[in-house]
Symmetry: C2
Subunit: 181 residues, 2 copies
Amino acid sequence: MSLRMALLGLLASEGPANGYTLAKSFSGSVSHVWKASHSQIYPELARMSDAGLIEINEEQQPRRAKYYAITAKGRDELERWLMEVEPNRSIRNEIALRSFLLSNLSREKAIILIEREIEYYRERTDKLKELRTMFDNSSDQKFGHLSAELGLRISEAIYGWAKWARSEVEKQKSTGTDSIS
Amino acid sequence: MSLRMALLGLLASEGPANGYTLAKSFSGSVSHVWKASHSQIYPELARMSDAGLIEINEEQQPRRAKYYAITAKGRDELERWLMEVEPNRSIRNEIALRSFLLSNLSREKAIILIEREIEYYRERTDKLKELRTMFDNSSDQKFGHLSAELGLRISEAIYGWAKWARSEVEKQKSTGTDSIS
DNA sequence: CTGTACATGTAAAGTGTTACATGATTTT
DNA sequence: AAAATCATGTAACACTTTACATGTACAG
């Protein structure tokens, strides 16, 4: 359902668009929040049209593009989902899984992995801080800056964790061998 | 691949186990890091056995249980995955998506949703802090406390974000109507 | 006129969830 | 004897990724 709601939200707040444009959103600003490829988006738009949540305008568009617009039913459905459907709060985080598996490596190798994460999340945090500055200067009435801020805070949290985790692993006495061999 | 690696990691660090016990791990301590149900685990164990990553001992077990043990090949594969496979760092977070969609609600309704998240993550943060205390007192050589700490820090980050987001939304002038109608 | 960006789809494989289905052993 | 827990599986459906496939319009 999430992809459907993301599409409805984009059409509601940014007006009618074609599938290609929507797909680009999912690799741009929205990508920090949800990812989807065009092969998932086109069939979903067709199903949403069947369900009456969006309307297609195929006429007079260049390159046989289809323009999709949200319907009143679509707006109702989006609001109903937001207000009444219990959020799925499960976080599927491969970095957390990898940190759980770290005890299967030697201390030295574990530190190498942790340092990769420190570097990745340091860069990511910097990028998201720039993005926040852009939002601060644009003074729009939308809440796009809320999700940008959430992404930033999670990134900072992982960065802080990774630096702490390195010091934790360094504290442990080296066995001199891989713990998994 | 992640489920496979999670299973290999459990068998490597906690020794041979049957599918039922592994499934319980995925709804217990490991669940903070990765979730899986038994209907996913049993077929995966069969495929891992076919691939030579684990060995099955079916004899002399009560209740026709099958005991699985990691092989040398399985240990190699786990280390190879950890060290050489680029982590999938994409976070699929429905709460972040919902925060992105908040501009499609009236200010009042948006605040109701945000307050639900404040409550949820306040409770979750408390629970994970208890879990951390348990790790602190158990003084094991494993790194389970690393992933527990990561889960806690992410939970705290979302909690802090939600409180900030409420104040942001409250700042905005009420239009008196739903922005989506 | 050739490459790039625009634009839309389908197919296959992999991953994940929910429901269905069965039987063994222990606890009350 | 009944209920709970242990134990293993399959089926159907939903979701996601990667690859395959095609055609349009514009820019260099």
